[in-house]
Symmetry: C2
């Protein structure tokens, strides 16, 4: 059974959707640890409720960002993690962690990449006036919201949408495709060639 490591900074609703998928047998995996950079992240509470080991790593406690990410990589390797799942981790992941888990770190972004990279993607989409929004699961590389795309799902944008209503609609979509992307990884169905991912047997 594959071991996952989850990194989260906030409420961790995608973390929960993965827990739920495992609990109902849809995902043949075990969450070996939750790592958070935020002592008051609600994700910690979710980990406690499900007996998932959790570690708070204080970014202020490290001499450099490289050492910070090297420590996270060490922790994940200590837990024998095979796939790292970013679930609302509000930092740009740096080289020491990426190098330790090449094409084995996934992220979800609340936009149809390459549109609306960075923060507040849903607001960016509303401000631009798009009619179709969505979310993207991708492997993480050294650029922000870049890296090979695994899955995407589109949702409509309605005329009366607010940032909240659109975010909620996209989040439902996130909770569907993130566990699915992890499942494809576990089943060995993702083949990365260059900057693209082929899904197949």
């Amino acid at each position: 059974m594959i071991k996952l490591g989850v990194l989260a900074s906030g409420r961790g609703s995608n973390f929960q959707s993965i827990i739920d998928s495992i609990d109902r047998g849809a995902l043949d995996a075990e969450i070996a640890c939750l790592i958070t950079d935020n002592r008051s992240a609600y994700a910690i509470e979710r980990a406690r409720l499900h007996n998932i080991p959790h570690v708070y790593i204080n970014p202020a406690g490290y001499a450099s960002r490289d050492i910070f990410y090297r420590s996270i990589a060490d922790e994940l390797q200590f837990c024998e993690v095979e796939l790292v799942v970013l679930a609302g981790f509000m930092r740009v992941v740096k080289k020491p962690l990426i190098d330790a888990f090449p094409m084995r770190i996934m992220n979800i972004h609340p936009a149809l990449l390459p549109s609306f990279k960075g923060l507040n993607a849903q607001k960016q989409a509303l401000d631009y006036g798009v009619r179709i929004a969505g979310c993207t699961v991708h492997f993480v590389d050294e650029e922000v919201d870049s890296g090979p795309i695994i899955l995407q799902e589109a949702v409509p944008v309605f005329s009366d949408d607010t940032e909240e209503s659109l975010s909620a609609r996209i989040l439902e979509s996130e909770h569907r495709i993130y566990p699915l992307a992890i499942k494809l990884f576990i089943e060995g169905k993702l083949r990365v060639t260059g900057n693209t991912v082929k899904i197949g047997d």
Copy 2:
């Protein structure tokens, strides 16, 4: 009944979808003229078949691009056109035409803007490895594939897609949303505020 002016450089399949929508009564409009910059565009043949006046304007015959676009604007105004529809017009429209028809020029682009602006959008999408592609109808402003978005439709990208198969799937979608966007314009349901379009009564 509103008069449309269509600009096309090639086969004009979107031009045809508009003709068809008018013919079956779905669009209460008349195509007052087709203007083309390509003497051998198949769009001319379509115009002939449907008794639509057509004009070939040779770009080489004008001292400057501004004069070229001023001439197109004159021709459209002479035909009493109220809405200009770009249907595979392979040029960047310039200020004299845009100023003559402010927020009354529509374009369709084979991508979910703001992703994949410019040429070969479908190939750009495949090269990037997206799972969702689509098309966008927007008002034309002075930047390429910019301007307020009217409608978008998403289509899936499949693992075995080629540029041809994806383009064909997107084209079906184009033929659906372009007439629909024109219909919304005719019915007075498009309100442009800033860079976004509200659809409503």
